[in-house]
């Protein structure tokens, strides 16, 4: 079964303190070339849910209707996702590390009357705009944004 990936970012006009904080610290973590950083969340849902059901989960549970936009898989890009070419970092808990959020996510889906997924997990996404090198981004991802002991991280170069 292909997993659904639901990505969530703040709408324009709403603050992103996690991104702002990382940008403020960028020089000290060896990322002085960063010009803009946005932090968001990503959820991966595997199971017998229809696209419409995943859409409902995104709209009513995972994203805040006032402050956030969501994007499922490679859907059309909502305004919150528009950004100049950027590095993309994803941080996930490794398989086998218990995710304390999973139970709430399952409850949230149940309360909406949706079928139970085979698995649902949450991760973090960072988008970094600026003149950076791959090793720098990888180092930040592994040293400052995650702990390789329990997290896996992936880095995607600007497209």
């Amino acid at each position: 079964m292909t997993p659904y990936r639901v990505e969530i970012f703040g709408k324009p006009g709403f603050s992103d303190p996690a991104g702002t904080e990382l940008l403020a610290q960028s020089a000290s973590v060896g990322l002085s070339g960063a010009a803009e950083i946005r932090a968001g969340r990503i959820y991966e849902i595997v199971g017998r849910l229809s696209p419409a059901q995943v859409e409902q989960a995104a709209r009513e549970l995972l994203a805040d209707p006032v402050t956030q936009d969501y994007r499922i898989n490679e859907q059309a890009v909502p305004p919150a996702f528009l950004l100049s070419p950027h590095w993309r970092v994803e941080i996930w808990l490794k398989d086998g590390v218990s995710d304390p959020e999973e139970e709430s996510l399952r409850k949230g889906l149940r309360d909406l009357g949706l079928p139970a997924p085979d698995s649902i997990r949450g991760g973090r996404v960072y988008k970094i705009v600026g003149r950076c090198q791959l090793p720098q981004i990888e180092r930040v991802a592994r040293k400052w944004l995650s702990n390789p002991l329990i997290h896996r991280s992936s880095v995607e170069a600007p497209r």
Partner: protein, 257 residues
Amino acid sequence: MKLPKALILRCAGTNCERETANAFAMAGARPELAHINELKSGRVKLLEADIFVIPGGFSYGDDVAAGRLLANELKRFVVDLRQFIRSGRPVLGVCNGFQVLVKAGFLPNNRQELQSASFTFNDSNRFEARWTHLRINTHSNCLFTKGLPEMIELPVAHAEGKFVVKTPKVLEELKRSNSIVLRYVNETGEPAGYPYNPNGSVFNIAAISNPEGNCLGLMPHPERFITRYHHPNWTRQTFHKEGVGLEMLRNAVRHVS
């Protein structure tokens, strides 16, 4: 005389229910803690209560977003809660309870309970626990703040307390209907930046109510200021006779006595 019943809602992660119950008992009510499962099963009936309280805490861990899961769950009781509010009985949402009332669409007030405001992370990107100076909107109809001095102090403790609105119109409507009850200010009563406004809320909003003033949501914790010994400076002051938080709850109890 039968004391008015204050129904205090709990669920997994609620954590201010005991002190809230103690505070309501001090204020002259009969507090009753009810688990959300008891409301669902019908063992406890919302409409039999005189006051309804959603206390502070981390409902379901604030997973996904603060108050989101409990807000969705509360929508099952939308008819009862709508009727409860329209009957004029006091409804109080403190901290997480405020987040729940907003995300369930009960505040800011509108007919269809559509969410028109929200909370995001504090500008500092951190949990902030501190005492704040608050200015009461004297034109507000809020029954909880009647007769209180215009300037009060209460503690806040939250990570996702930045109140934001969907559109500027929502804020205008809140102002127009005098629904903004408390604003974060400095010692002299003027709006000021961080840390006076601990989270970056729009228009320094700390509390809003419905225009009728019986449904109040606030980020500060009235139940944490029920004796003068709660104030951080009680060892150097003599002017606090008792906690202003207790006065707020007494107003609610008086309203239904």
